[in-house]
Symmetry: C2
Subunit: 878 residues, 2 copies
Amino acid sequence: MTKYVYLFKEGNADMRSLLGGKGANLAEMTNLGLPVPEGMTITTDACREYYAAGKQLPAGLREEVEANLKTLEAQTGKRFGDAACPLLVSVRSGAVFSMPGMMDTILNLGLNEDTVEGLAKATNNKRFAYDAYRRFIQMFSDVVMELPKYEFETILSDQKDAQGVKFDQELSAESLRVIIDEYKDLYLMRVGEPFPEDPREQLFRAIEAVFRSWNNDRAIIYRNLNKIDHDLGTAVNVQSMVFGNMGDDCGTGVAFTRNPSTGENKLYGEYLTNAQGEDVVAGIRTPQPIAKLESEMPEIFTQFNNIALTLEKHYRNMQDIEFTIEKGKLYMLQTRNGKRTAAAAVKVACDLADEGLVTKEEAVLLVEPEQLHQLLHRQISPSAKVDVITKGLPASPGAACGHVVFDADDAEARGKKGEKVVLVRMETTPDDIHGIIEAQGVLTSRGGMTSHAAVVARGMGKPCVCGCESLKVDYNTKTIMVKDTLIKENDIITIDGATGRVMLGEVELEEPKLSDEYIKLLGWANEVKALSIRANADTPEDAAKARSFGAEGIGLVRTEHMFMAQDRLPFVQQMILAESKAERIEALAHLLPMQEGDFYGILKAMDTLPVCIRLLDPPLHEFLPSQEELVIETTRLEALGSDPQRLAEAQDLLKQVKKLHEANPMLGHRGCRLGITYPEVYEMQMRAICQAAARLAKEGLTPLPEIEIPLTISAEEMAFFKPRIDRIAAEVMEETGAKFHYSVGTMIEMPRAALLADELAEYAEFFSFGTNDLTQTCLGFSRDDAEGKFLGDYLAEKILKENPFAVLDRKGVGKLMKIATTGGRATRPNLVAGICGEHGGDPDSIAFCHEIGLDFASCSPYRVPIARLAAAHAALKG
Amino acid sequence: MTKYVYLFKEGNADMRSLLGGKGANLAEMTNLGLPVPEGMTITTDACREYYAAGKQLPAGLREEVEANLKTLEAQTGKRFGDAACPLLVSVRSGAVFSMPGMMDTILNLGLNEDTVEGLAKATNNKRFAYDAYRRFIQMFSDVVMELPKYEFETILSDQKDAQGVKFDQELSAESLRVIIDEYKDLYLMRVGEPFPEDPREQLFRAIEAVFRSWNNDRAIIYRNLNKIDHDLGTAVNVQSMVFGNMGDDCGTGVAFTRNPSTGENKLYGEYLTNAQGEDVVAGIRTPQPIAKLESEMPEIFTQFNNIALTLEKHYRNMQDIEFTIEKGKLYMLQTRNGKRTAAAAVKVACDLADEGLVTKEEAVLLVEPEQLHQLLHRQISPSAKVDVITKGLPASPGAACGHVVFDADDAEARGKKGEKVVLVRMETTPDDIHGIIEAQGVLTSRGGMTSHAAVVARGMGKPCVCGCESLKVDYNTKTIMVKDTLIKENDIITIDGATGRVMLGEVELEEPKLSDEYIKLLGWANEVKALSIRANADTPEDAAKARSFGAEGIGLVRTEHMFMAQDRLPFVQQMILAESKAERIEALAHLLPMQEGDFYGILKAMDTLPVCIRLLDPPLHEFLPSQEELVIETTRLEALGSDPQRLAEAQDLLKQVKKLHEANPMLGHRGCRLGITYPEVYEMQMRAICQAAARLAKEGLTPLPEIEIPLTISAEEMAFFKPRIDRIAAEVMEETGAKFHYSVGTMIEMPRAALLADELAEYAEFFSFGTNDLTQTCLGFSRDDAEGKFLGDYLAEKILKENPFAVLDRKGVGKLMKIATTGGRATRPNLVAGICGEHGGDPDSIAFCHEIGLDFASCSPYRVPIARLAAAHAALKG
């Protein structure tokens, strides 16, 4: 028969999934010989059984609880329901993962009209006993019976008014007696039966209430949010009461073994004498810092300090400890790993390792990769006063402050002059990039976490709040309405990309500081990780930034970002609109030296490290004016008949744009398809790369360009391009007399490329998984369309567990990646394989890349430290 | 050592790949004891060696040819190069597959100044000998040396002028001698050396010329067109000459063992007395029908007739035979399987089986599936006079004739009145469907073989010529300019969708007739095929048509085609633009009875056969007016300021349309994603299907609806819909008291669905591969964009061998299909799996579906017979 109930001394910390976190730790402390009030834990098995049986307590559970109560009675010398010396218990939920949504605690259970008198006699304190009873009825009615709290509060405050007192503790025993009676009347009226006098009935009802609270709305929402399995169930802890409010030799407190804000190795916490836990929360008296305990109760302090050290050593982690002092005796009520800030996490991890408590590997695992975010971006100063006017999506972390501008050109012009501006748009497009570069941050009223603004801003490490729908942006009047607030151009706002907050005025910001411990810890991460971490960068500045963050190469240079630059766009457009190959080659001749300069700068910044350069990828119409704007212009000019020459020009351009129009540009004429139809475009880029490498080689540096063909679906495409690259490289070496190393590979971003990877690897020396497009094609989800239209419903209906553009879809996209890696390496065992794009910076996705044996992951420069740590975690956990 | 040369008696018909088709058949006839002039075949091995060695004849080849020449000399009693009794030979190419692009024949090789005199003496006919020599020089110069033909023709015609004669055969021996000398002078001048006198030199140069002709431009184009491997190489046949032009007891002819037009079992062909093969082609004398030979040379006729019977029996197929009669002796020069019309193919196959010459299975293999096309559509009457003004792409077979209309509404209105119209558009959209339905055929100036017009027309079995770029269609003036011809609305044109021809005026058409043999043969096909053949049909009429063609079910009912109907579109639009669920449900209530009626009709037409109904698939904006038209309208109204109310309405609609606009609709909010976001839409369709089935069940019929969820990517979607269908079916059965069978499945059209098929099969009872969309996502090719933009270059550069939308991409899409079928059946062994969409009617794709063990293939009704035959071929060949 299943055992449903464990005495604390029967359990241990490893039994977390059966006993819950709290129960397991109480058991562990008991077995360490620490002073823990006696108790028992009802298992999560019992909870699961309860639900499986249609909300019936499992057979045998009652009997087991009774038997264990007997043991508790023997241990405490008290008896449950005994009028003379009553055993009182607390009942607490205790899930495997801490869950604030659930029922927390019922104290003083076991009190009734008999036992309350016994308690009064035993403590020689009638007021204390009645107060305990009053609290119990109130808690039981609230959490077990779900009666409206305020009705009880009203009785309490009415009585205080009647007695002319202000605080609960000023009420006399007699007044409390009146309250108890009124509570019971209210209970009878609301429930239709009297408040239970039988302590056993109280207990089993409380146990059931804990089980039920597992599935209340708050708990379900919390689990969804934190991706906790709904089938785990909760344990229930039944523990004999100790009281911190029986006099001045009593007290209660909470302490961390180290400072959770800074990580400083010093006991940190607070306590109240003559108080119960809820009194601390009520905030009537200000708690004392824990250090004060040393002078107030030196022996207790020494004992507590030793226990804290013991627990930290035992758990090999900073602990968060709850304790109570009853009549000069210390009791431990809870211990758990303490939550901490990123800075503290890094310091604690390093210190624990330095102190020899944990290994370097364990230290690395003590910091969550995503936490590093906090350390890498400017933040709102914690002491700053903020006026939050609205919230959007936290699209790219960091805080920014500046004058509102509505136009990318303005942002660029003013930004270049050194002014601080925040670019506000309904949404951004590739046309806005030059403005985003010069702005402090970006705020949009439309678009999700993977909208253009969000992706670009994250790539640049620029703060961004997007999809802020309460903003009514009006480009004509250059104003924003937010509810009743009007924001005009040039007004100053502050945005916090980590939380999505938008604030009026200038708010004090704090620069990121990277501590010695941070550098040490990231160094340890490097020692253990298997994945090489690269960055995506399109400029020498980004490349240098990435290198400073520890990037071990560039995983993706997007050459089209260079094409978007204002000084190049005219030539790019000339190239696109060319009516002959000769005309196109002429335009390309202008672009060649510019591209060579781009590549020179990046390769130089990454000297001796690999730089993967993707040849032109986006459809050509992205470089032309919008079709709709041209339609509007021509229609208007036609209707007005006022400017025939302008009309003719616009019509002509519209015709060209329409020729390039595509029904589904994502699946259209882009990537290497451009290189097949216009080989001269790709050849210009190949030459620019080779010339840049040759220049650097002559300067004595070691450029390592990797030339990447995007959007392939077949070996035949590689067979088309590979000889061209080899020819051009040979020509450049011949022309310059310089030798340099280069390699040729492809992005795997179409399912067919993954399926035919064995053939592609005949020509490709490396693969880089473009998981953004691979996700789009594998799932048939247009990223631009999915987010606004149906992805929300897919997540709400739990058809997908995660946004597949944020967290790699292991089952689908991941399966293709496995097929491709296996296939590619079968052909070419030393094939280099990696991932670029958004997923390359996501810890869960990085773990998967490690699992399937990729060589590198590439992400935006600002995520490099996170990715390094995530890669180390993957290696240590794998 | 490799043997490069085989005497005819050393070979046989099975050695085709080594000896080529012609050589293998000459060997076979020789061994059958038929009168074949002696000869040898140089193998395809030798040709491949020739190319492998950089165009050098392989070592040992010369010696082998010499040795075999000796045997020829012994057999014929003549000697090669002997002045007294010269052996003359023909040299012919002979590839494995017949290849008109290659060098064909050199006759009379072995003649020189000595042997020509010997020939004159031996035949006692100087004129004959000189004429033979003249012809040889001309052929050798042309096909071996590639000298310009017309220069030789000029010498010949100059001489005829000089002699005042009209025909070659009027030239005297003396004149021919003059011509020979002038030919030789010309040769010397052009080549720089004298015409080769040495017969051996002539021979080896001719052999090399045949090898070279394997890779001339025409041959390469032909092989590309017919998908023949470029590495096969050609054989060369060297055969001793016989002459049909040595007198009236000589002759030459060609005959089929049966009528190649009708299949009638009667010798069919023609011959000329006293003539060589080329004379028949020259058309100076009209050849005699072969029957005439019976009276003219009764013994020869009997002998030939017997040989024909022997060959047909031996090859178990209709033969195409070439023969020559030299001085009263019959020689066989070639036999091969005869080309035939579709009607003849069907009749010959049936007759051969009935005669016991072949089995039923072999008979089925004697007809190519694609040939059946000819039998199933109206055609231009073979006797009709046609005035072809231009040609477009042959997009949907069949001929149609009618008045030109430019608008789908006109087409519908006039078509419904019984008028015959041809709809002419620049391109068609889903808005034009009602017009296409009522038109005789469709002609477009833009769009490829898979454009909207082409796909829809093929689906309806309606003739269509598309991409006819020489048409300048002007909707305003309602005219078409084709070069200099003006076609006005209402003019009559005829189009031939099988050839792409566009003709002025009414051309006589011929109705398709399906013979008894056709029905018999398709019956045999059904006996052997494993794949069930279904049709795609959206109306009861199409379903009935499909059933009459032998469809064994409906593989795809596209419910959106019903939504497009003029009487429904307003409700569909109301549903789309609904601002609340209640409003949407009201619109759906109007659609429910209409949809029920649709399904009732189709299920009734297919009583007892499965009907797979796909729930709504396309993005909703397809049902709304075009965004560009609305932009134009609002801009114009705004500029003119004339009609504020109209403007407000248009702006409002534009806003709605923009809200639904998608960047990549193919990957957008469509398919079951609509059913997730608007469950009520799918529930209406589920109910309509169930109600229709219930009505039929009550009428005593056996409807077999299969409810198909489109565009799934996960089991979770099926888990969302399956219980809804089961609930609605149960409700309808409860409400009506009728019982009916139904099943629930999904279309596999996204890579992720294929990869996760094992999970999908937990819920899906059937899979239907939507290979159109699977091709789009697997390759990342938007069908609408690829064809006009880059697919042409991909095919030209041989990056893809086939248009993947026409012929299933086995390597990529096929691999996903295999993964899905294997995965699905691992979960559900009795899973029904099939293919729908364009590939379902393509024989090569059908063969693949058979190979991977699918259960059915579904295609347009008119392709059902082709698919049945293709499925039978697949089963017999597999």
